[in-house]
Amino acid sequence: MGRRGHNDEDFAHEIQAHLELETDRLIRDGMSPEDARAAAYRAFGNVARTQERFYESRRVMWLSHARYDVRFAMRTLIKSPGFTVAIILTLALGLGANATMFGVVDRLLVSSPQHLVQPDQLRHLYLERRGAGDLGLQSRRLTYPDFKDIERLPAFASVAAYAADVVAWTMGSGSDARRVQVQQASASLFPTLGVRPVRGRFYAVEEDVPGAAPTAVLSEEFWAREFERDPGIIGRVVQLNRGRYEVVGIAPTGFTGAELSPVDVWLPLRASAFAESGRGAGFDDRGQWWIRAVVRLKSGVTSDAADAQLTATHIAARRAYAKASAGLPEHAGRAYAEHEVPRLFTASVIAARGPSPSTTSAISLWSAGVSLVVLLIACANVANLLLVRGIRGQRELALRVALGADRRRLLAQSMTEAALLAGAGALAALGVSWGSSRMVHAMLIPDVAFSGSGIGSRLLVFVSAAAVITTLFAGILPAVQASRTAGTDALRAASRGNSSARSTLRGALMVAQITLSVVLLVGAGLFVRSLWQALDTDVGFDYAPILAVFLEENADPARDRVAQQRRRTELYRAALARISTLPGVRSATLSAATTPLFTRDGFGPGELRVPGVDPIPRVPGGGPYKYSGTEDFFATLGVTVTRGRAFEPAEFQDGTEPVAMVNETFARTIWPDRDPLAQCIQYSDPDRKGAPTPCRRIVGVFKDLASFGVDERKPLQVAYPTLRDTYVKGLIVRAGGDPASLIPSIRQAFLGISSDVRFVEVASGAERFNRAVRSWRLGSTMFTAFGLLALLVAAVGLYSNLAFGIAQRRRELGIRAALGANRQHLVRVVMAQAARFVAAGLVLGTAIALAAGRFLERLLFGVAVTDLPVYGLVIFTLIAAGGLAGLIPAWRAMSIHAKTALETE
């Protein structure tokens, strides 16, 4: 600090010297030493003020003040480490949670997918089919011919098509085969989105035609992961499924097309389909809904105008096609039914904002709102702590005001302290958010690509903005309180420990905290119950010990589709023989149709008839889906037969009476008031075209099986025995012990059969089920974490409030103790205060939770928003937390001794 040879200390000495010299002179003039000293001081005026002016004269004022304030604030904060850590931790958790949820919401709902140029012109294509009395269907799936119809519409500057699903393909073969996420997309995708390759080039339109030499574009992440960023990658050939693809370019980090799922490899739509099947399968079929489209509107074209063009073109094309295919067998036509009104329209490329946002994005939005509430609670608590401390230091403050300290300077000091705390909190929050983002991304939302969107500039801006707002919110109340303190009044009031206006404010903040905690905990309770309900859902079979095995074989180009399926079936059958004898395998079966939780295999139009019921009614759960397997199919899955019996081994032989089973929903829907066991269904096997279709007798009714996941809507299901030459689609294993330990030996068993086996996918039922309940897990994890955080923060707040109250009322309690109040009474005084806060918070919180609950309804599963056990538990928890928070202050109140309390005042 020393500058120009004259520092603060020096200056103090100088003033001291002046006063002494002056005193000496006055004594010489005949004054008494005491009078002389007093006169010298009087002549000098305000010593402190002079020192201050001296100090102020020396440098740019605000800078030195700021430095001084920061040093002062740091000293104060370090002096009370418990207080400081509590506040920083509160802020870190509050801000960190917000930063994490901001990142998620930003990716899902706010930002378009990465690397899109002028994303507001880009729109996804939606198809809506609605008919009178029918279930509306809104989807982003089109058929390829439908896409071609609209490709050249004048409303669009550019149009691109890609497969609706990113699918796992196999890179390499045999034991070193790996899964890669493949997105098949038309060459126009890249120019439509406006993305540029970081290396090489994207495939061109002429490379995306059947028979063109197959090319591939790798994602930057995949290139780094699999090829360690080998610069010689361009021109290399990789084996993907059946084709060999030349790598032509690398897409930029974080590029996921017009969607959010991570992609490893981009393949040209038509060329890769041709390389895969050797035919143009799916490109001329108006029954295969596997295409998604993204369009760039011409500038100036409204989406309404585009929608009108789309719908008109689509309907006209479909009509023409229906007319042209009138003579063909029914399932080839697949025109819309008479009553169906199709409508094509476009919507924002941010899918979560589209007409049917996913549950994940809805829950994320809720969680973000909740994290904001947590931040509010954290702010309220920090403000409260600062207030309480401000009041504790009030005597000092009052003294400073009385001595002429500048009010604005006091305000600046409080703000500096709050800013320092918020800054430290924000830094810690970035750490918290870094960790928790990773966890949330990986565990709760794994199917969205977050790479390239880590702690980006937007997140930093968000955290700093939140920190500033927090500072203002948390700092301004104590600062205003401090600056409003009128010198002598405050001095008097502080010595009495009396500040009723302030205690009202603190009380309000306290009640607000408890209220918000109640709301969050109710939300947490509802989501946890949903998750439990979902986990408890009867999927109709015993999924935990199940492994589903799917095989991919190298194709022999000489074989046609039927020959290929036959070959695959042979491989499955050979594997079944080996796997059945593996140690640890309880039973194994082949699946020739649907494998529950993994695949869904429905009847084509006209494939299933029920005498006397035509057409088969639709149910919300969908279907009818078909199930069939070898003899052990039902036993391996652990399906419960509720009426009649399961299939007998003899019924798997040709030449026996054709039989079938249906699920409970089928029986109830199709034959509401008839005995299903007396009925029969007619099934025409597409693999045996032209064969007569005898009516299959229903021998049993089984429990509803889950389709893909956990759903309250049940589908129609039909099971029949596999006949000897039916094509096999998968293999199901029931493990005796830990299913995961069986995976390597199962894979080995397959690979040992033949070099034709390219890849063996072994997936566990438990893992698959967990994926199905993920959205509730997301909700319950987030709400529980935030709810507990809020409760903790509120409990700490309540504790500090009560403790402060006791400290303030020491004298009163001391007098009471002196007058012979017994200790139980003093405890009651404290506990009554805690009870008042908790009761007010509970009443308000319950009311808000009940009012807000109905918005949450859609996201819950199997639990009412007014669920009594949840509310009961929350109320109990709050009361318990309130009691705990009151314990230490109450104990302190009890141990107040009359004498010491009165003496210290």
């Binding site: 002046h18 000098f44 005026g45 003020r49 001296f54």
Partner: protein, 117 residues
């Protein structure tokens, strides 16, 4: 007790004049703060009121402008005090400001007219 005029009769210094008076006082040699204050009051026959508190910021100001320099020394009655000395720059400044002040005082005097008018 020295003949001091009643407080209310003494005139507070005009803004900026304290600097000039300090410089003037130091023409007679190094002096400490209290001495400067005493000298001003005595020479003005106790007409001027020097606020001792505002003397030090003024000294500080002058020192910063390098018009005076300072060092610790011992006073007549053996007290440690900080002694201020007029620098060459200070001397030049004093000449300029004195001339400036005289012209100002004369101009104001002319406007106000002769005493008792």
């Amino acid at each position: 007790m020295s003949p001091q005029k009643a407080e209310q009769e003494r005139i507070a210094l005009l803004q900026g004049t304290l600097d000039l008076l300090i410089l003037r006082t130091l023409v007679f040699g190094p002096q400490h703060g209290q001495g400067i204050a005493r000298a001003i009051e005595q020479q003005a026959e106790d007409t001027l009121l020097v606020d001792h508190g505002s003397l030090y910021p003024a000294l500080q100001r002058l020192e910063a402008r390098r018009l005076i320099s300072a060092e610790w020394g011992t006073s007549d009655n053996n007290r440690r005090a900080r002694f201020y000395t007029l620098t060459r720059v200070g001397r030049t400044q004093l000449v300029a400001e004195t001339r400036h002040w005289r012209r100002l005082a004369a101009a104001i005097g002319r406007i106000l007219g002769p005493e008792g008018a």
